[in-house]
């Protein structure tokens, strides 16, 4: 197989005494969607936050396109073309959609001032693709519904031509229609050759969207399987029992 887009090797992190992620290895290839499943508190968000630069791992290695990567900050992660939709969305509630979309990467006029009108125009364009009903461009995002806020966070991640996309429960607050649009978007991005880490608690959705799924429990990796090779029940039992029935068989 080709060099993986991302390879996390034996990564661990502990908060105080809690080993939130314990010796986990995972890889992601271009044009692939890898799902992360597991109970609340299993360590899924923590694992991807080490890739997105929000946390610094205690030990382990990250390799990106075959090169050892040092990711010490969110900025480093962005420099590797990694974009993240955080579970908490990470929006500045007092700013409008456009300011959030471009936060940290504002478009500027030739004189170096922020170019709000161009950013707003760009935001209108991308939102028209993601959530055509979205009209509240002038309001602070605190005035938006949960789903609308989620659309803003998704727009921010896909706008900047990422190579690697991390989506931590991107559809948790979305309606049926909007969820379908995100599913479609994931398919589209995959075709463009992005690698996507997707976290969700919806096993059925994961079986449809992902190429491979990984299951975590108590900070440990239980197993990674191609979706064709397993049934939904296999996945569920991995999540619940913390054992891989395939490897046991």
């Amino acid at each position: 197989m080709s060099t993986p887009l991302v390879e996390m090797k034996n990564v661990s992190i502990a908060f105080g005494g809690v080993r939130a992620v314990d010796d986990v290895s995972i890889e992601l290839h271009a044009g692939e969607v890898v799902g992360l499943l597991g109970h609340n508190g299993a360590g899924k968000s923590t694992l991807i936050k080490m890739l997105s630069g929000a946390y610094k791992m205690d030990s382990g290695e990250i390799w990106i396109e075959g090169n050892r990567a040092t990711i010490n900050s969110p900025r480093d992660s962005r420099d590797y073309n990694i974009e993240t939709i955080y579970q908490t969305l990470a929006l500045a509630d007092n700013l409008d959609a456009a300011s959030n979309l471009f936060l940290g990467r504002e478009l500027t006029t030739p004189l170096g001032f922020v170019d709000d009108s161009t950013m707003e125009a760009e935001t209108r364009k991308i939102m028209a693709r993601l959530n055509p009903n979205f009209k509240k461009l002038k309001e602070p995002v605190s005035a938006l519904s949960g789903g609308q806020r989620q659309s803003v966070a998704i727009a921010r991640a896909v706008y900047f031509n990422a190579k690697i996309l991390i989506m931590d429960e991107p559809t948790a607050a979305l309606g049926v229609h909007e969820t379908a649009m995100v599913a479609e978007l994931i398919g589209e991005l995959k075709k463009q050759g992005l690698g996507i880490f997707l976290i969700s608690h919806d096993t059925r959705e994961m079986m449809e969207l992902c190429d491979r799924v990984s299951v975590m429990k108590n900070g440990k990796m239980i197993g990674t399987e191609r979706v064709e090779d397993v049934t939904e029940d296999d996945i569920l039992s991995m999540i619940i029992l913390g054992k891989n029935p395939k490897s046991a068989a």
Binding site: A54, T84, A92, N94, L103, G104, A143
Partner: protein, 431 residues
């Protein structure tokens, strides 16, 4: 929540919505006018004379300059209790620089033309360095701003005392004192020129804002609304200049040196003070700070950090360095305020700027800066400073004793924040 898709007709809007003016701004200006009118009645018309308006303006400048910086501090969920003390250290440094160090150590004679400018540069650098140091303790060492600046309040007030051996320093340089207010004004002619230039600049700014919107196909307000706003802006600027220009120099002052006012002899010579340099300094600070807040990345990051520090961090913003920059800015502004304050007195005194930290915080908060972070405006802080100063001067004119003045000012501060909270609930904004 306006529907912005093109084919549907725009929904009916009321008068204020069409104007798209900030209702909070209107409320503050309204409150300011109410204060002025009440005092004008209580003082039998002595409050709203050109002379008193002139005095009010120059008394407000120093606090207003610092208040613009305090907005950024409070927006990022910090506080700065040290501005008054920092001001005192900066004026002590500047006082010593111009009267002792430059003449005695560098051999520049008193009155040397370079003295005021070197002094100002030294003062601004002092402010920046001290501010940045406090910002470093807050941002990089994670000591709460409240503690760092509470310590700073004690330290800098007394470093100022130590530098001067507790003595009053002065008289200050002749050019330096021009920044104080009445001793440095533009006169009628140049005040009109500046007023006209400001008018043209504002009209151009409004117009270019409108054409950018049209270029991107965004909705614009109706032409009548745009024109009314332009009308109000023009009236406000030129009205202000007219009022200051109608404060004429008393004949006994002219008699001292008629040449200064462009007359051969004192007889029949009429001259107006016009715009003080200190007010020009404040206006420049206001414009620069507003541009920073609204049009630069720095400003965007300040507000984003105030709204959600974690989100700002995750977006790659260096919030620690940002904290250093904000406190350094406040340091520079305190030094600038110190130039104006000491120039107005003509001396550096030990107690200069005492309690200014409270006035500055009150001005920012009355001006709508939310202590919960993320919300605040520069113009609000300046109007807040004006309201505070009007209350204080007005009560002094009416003859209210100082302790009662403080009781009123304290109560007004709490009431203003309460009204602001009610207002936010009304408009449904979370704060």
């Amino acid at each position: 929540m306006s529907d912005q898709s093109a084919p549907t007709p725009p929904p009916k809007r009321n008068f204020l919505q069409s104007l798209e003016v900030d209702t909070r701004l209107l409320g503050m200006i309204g409150a300011f006018f109410v204060v002025c009118i009440i005092f004008n009645i209580l003082t039998d018309g002595r409050f709203l004379t050109p002379r008193n308006i002139f005095n009010l303006t120059i008394q407000t400048v120093s606090v207003a300059i610092m208040a613009t910086g305090m907005v950024f501090v409070i927006v990022t969920r910090h506080i700065d209790l040290s501005v008054g003390a920092l001001l005192a250290t900066c004026t002590a440094v500047m006082g010593m620089t111009q009267t002792q160090w430059l003449p005695n150590l560098m051999g520049l004679e008193l009155g040397h033309p370079m003295i005021p400018w070197i002094t100002i540069a030294v003062g601004l650098c002092t402010g920046a360095v001290i501010g940045a140091a406090q910002g470093w303790l807050i941002g990089y060492q994670a000591i709460p701003a409240f503690i760092v600046t509470l310590g700073g309040l004690l330290v800098w007030r007394n470093v100022g005392w130590w530098l001067t051996d507790g003595a009053t320093i002065g008289p200050l340089d002749q050019t330096f004192v021009l920044f104080g207010g009445i001793s440095g004004t533009l006169g009628a002619f140049w005040s009109w020129i500046i007023g006209a230039a400001a008018t043209v600049a504002c009209l151009l700014a409004i117009w270019s804002g409108r054409s950018t919107k049209t270029k991107h196909g965004f909705p614009v307000k109706p032409m009548w609304a745009e024109l009314s706003i332009m009308g109000v802006v023009v009236a406000a600027i030129l009205g202000f200049v007219a009022v200051l220009n109608s404060y004429t120099v008393p004949s006994r002052v002219i008699a001292r040196d008629p040449g200064l006012f462009g007359c051969e002899t004192a007889d029949g010579c009429v001259a107006a003070y016009g715009l003080p340099y200190s007010v020009l300094v404040l206006i420049t600070v206001a414009i620069v700070m507003t541009v920073i807040a609204l049009r630069t990345r720095l400003g965007r990051y300040i507000f984003a950090t105030g709204g959600n520090p974690d989100a700002a961090e995750l977006s790659g913003i260096n919030t620690r360095l940002l904290t250093v920059k904000i406190f350094a800015m406040v340091g520079v502004l305190s030094a600038l305020a110190g130039i104006v304050a000491s120039a107005r007195l003509g001396y550096h005194t030990n107690d200069i700027g005492t309690l200014d930290e409270l006035r500055v915080i009150a001005a920012a908060v009355i001006g709508g800066t939310a202590l919960s972070g993320g919300v605040g405006t520069i113009y609000g802080a300046i109007i807040g400073a004006l309201i505070m100063q009007s209350l204080q001067s007005g009560m002094a004119m009416v003859g209210v004793d100082a302790p009662y003045q403080n009781i009123v000012v304290g109560a007004v501060l709490v009431a203003a924040v309460w009204i602001d909270i009610q207002y936010r609930k009304r408009v449904g904004a979370k704060s």
